[in-house]
Amino acid sequence: MGRAKTIARRTFLIGSAAIAGGVAFGIYKVKTPHQNPLASSLGTGEATFNPFVKITPEAITLITPHADIGQGVVHMQAALIAEELDVEFGQFETDFGAPDPAYWNTALAAEAVPFAAFDEGFGAETMRSVMGGVAKLMGIMGTGGSSSVPDQYEKLRTAGAVARETLKLAASQQTGVAVDALKTANGAVQLPDGTSLAYVDLAEAASGLEPVSDITLRDPSTWRLIGKPMARKDIPAKSTGTQSYGIDLNVDGMVYASTRVNPRRAPMNGYEANGADTMPGVSAIVPVTNGVAVIANSTWRAMNAANQIEFDWAPAPYPAEQDGHWEEVAASFTEERLDKEWRADGDVESALDGAEVIEVEYRAGYVAHQPLEPLGAIVRADEDGAEVWAGHQLPRFLQQKVAAIVGCAAENVIYHNQYSGGSFGHRLEFDNITLATEIAVQMRGTPVKLTLSREEDFVTDYPRQIGMSRSRGMVKDGKVESWSLDIATVSAARSQSGRLGVPVPGPDTQIAAGAWAMAYGIPNLRVRAYAVPELAPTSSWRSVGASTAGFFAESALDELIHAAGADQMEERLRLCNNAVHRKVLEAAAEMSNWGSAMGANQGRGVALVESFGVPVAEVVEVTNTDAGIKIDRVYVAADVGRVIDPVNFENLVQGGVIWALGHAINSEITYSDGMAEQINYYDAEGMRMYQTPEIIVKGLENADKIRGIGEPPVPAGPPALANAIFAATGQRIREMPFNKHIDFV
């Protein structure tokens, strides 16, 4: 209790402001370089400015700045505030809020620091706080890296508590009852005689008060909401077709657009309209970067016409054929391309010298994101500003990108974030936004609704990094003794940050993420990351680096343990040198009844990968049927420190496993003639219902820090599956997607 108080006092300056007859509460870092958005709202009377909690005589509004891409984060953010504020779902509205530096994401920048998330040593903590400062300066306000929960866990509860205590003070002044005698529940202050004063009726009085900053966050044992099964408030709308997404919006007077841009990521030499310009409803074909946009009076007419056009595309700046990409990756295990030696326990070179070395090579191809709602945006460019409607994970950068095209100040870009039909990293990119803006500036004043066709979305997607690993290891006396793991991938982080215009300093923490910090004490262990020069541009794909490095590491380890003749679970447990990770492994072993007898054609595989600070152990069970591999069951144990909502937690973990396994078995992007060969879901399906295993989930809470769960379930899935296939068939699958080597049913 004392600790919570200290944090609130030392770290936060608590602010509130009067707004149009109500009050707004925000919290800000003490040394914030940002304007207190509430203070500036005082002058303008802007009721929708930047607080986390806003109470007017009419309504209670909770601001939930993290983008909702399906992970339920609006609900999670609201629950954190509501827990302390004592309001119930149904008593308040939520709003994404306008982009503002005050919503900086400290947790996101923390993950960019090159220390293991579990390394809590002095150096790591110092670096993390320094990077947090950088994020604050940049005002990132980003959603990604499973950072929403760590970012908001304390901030939002504090905001709720400050609002509650200030409302109590207002009630006390109004009634003469001492604050200590007041209670709060159900959006109201309760007097000892049972009278209830609704927050909305106290709003005006509270707006005149200095906010109460001496607050104590509640003890977890008293929580009403956090940790209990919740019913997400977006789900009824999403079950009845009434949730509006960016693609569903209608802005008065808008025109519809569809783009075709060079799938080779190079200029357009020219095009032949082929009658597209005279098709019904088509009003214009206008130039955009590397291509054109068709403007029409409906989405269908615009897409249909865009498909009629014949293009002459310039050649790709990367190898035209996929083999060329692999050659470049394979040629990257060199001194010059060494990005960083991340781990060097013992002396692996001497240990392997002259020993019987087990050498294996693994590969993982490019994979597209392809959330089900295709990318698009509505943009209206005015003379000195713009308005944008779209789902995006980096609103502040979005404003800058739009402003640069419109030729206005970033503050003059009014941005309305939208619920998104998925992202998986896709909505960290800006092409849909900039293309829509490029069209809009050619018809200022008219809102333009851009919708990409699925095919256009596929060929312009920035896929996951391509990569390879080379593993050399040695076993002795039934134990894994020495292991050198080299990983070479393109740097999705550099590719992405290059487009963002914010260079990533130092080594790319993602190339060997999920591998170098492995919680195994192997006497001689070395992990090196090599950066393959940019090939096809790539981007963050759910779980980022660990989605490839985790596969490389845990599959190669499986090979070593097998060679040692040890049990896969027992040897991992023996090697495990972190108590939290060990518990996760033990839980997976127990859930799956590891070691129990299986049928002749069945097999079990395990993997342990840490992702964004969350250790996850998965056990996959498969049956080798006549027609192919059937994935029967997956057991998952993950430790996020604290589970905010066990129902949503289970849903996200199951979804993460399905995402991981579906793509591991059947999806990749390959290039031919400089273009992605996969243009719709029939080329890259992911998982379907008939392939979906039973997925049994357990959330552990042994870790000190609270973490998000969006990405962590992904990396351990593919190696656990490959290891299970080996156990069932004796066949090692060393390349994703697995269906290049074995059939699935």
Binding site: G241, V647, N651, I695
Partner: protein
């Protein structure tokens, strides 16, 4: 041409090769039916035509003279949920939710035909509906639950 959508008759004057999906979304303004792939791969656009689940991206409006179309908006509303929609909420199925209109329409058609679907029946009928978020385990559970409710009713 004339067709009935959610019980209301509509006169539509548009190029006959326009997919029903885009008539619903851009002309009628019923946006609960989603565009996902345009090529019968994802099921996000699923509606009922004369009682059968169909991919509205594959139906040309010119072929639908006199048809009875039901969209997600026609099976229930947040105020008056269908049994299937209630099961979807009880099981907290949705993540991003973008596929769920199609999933609900497909599941509703399945349960109209078969009030005791087995897991294999569910696999067979539901595998054409992609969910990129991976809500399949909850969809399966919700269908079993809805089936039990329908039979019990």
């Amino acid at each position: 041409m004339q067709l009935t959508i959610n019980g209301t008759s509509h006169e539509i004057d548009i190029e006959p090769d326009t997919p029903l999906l885009w008539v619903l979304r851009d002309e009628i303004g019923l946006t609960g039916t989603k565009y996902g792939c345009g090529v019968a791969q994802c099921g996000a656009c699923t509606v009922h035509v004369d009682g059968e689940a169909q991919r509205s991206c594959q139906l040309q409006i010119g072929d639908l003279e006199g048809a009875e179309v039901t969209t997600i908006e026609g099976v229930g509303t947040p105020e008056k949920l269908s049994v299937v929609q209630q099961a979807w909420i009880d099981h907290q199925v949705a993540q991003c939710g973008y596929c769920q209109s199609g999933q609900v329409m497909q599941a509703t058609a399945l349960l109209n035909e078969n009030d005791s679907p087995t897991d294999d029946d569910i696999d067979e009928v539901m595998s054409g509906n992609l969910c990129r978020c991976g809500t399949y385990p909850r969809i399966r559970a919700a269908i079993h639950d809805a089936a039990a409710k329908i039979k019990g009713a």
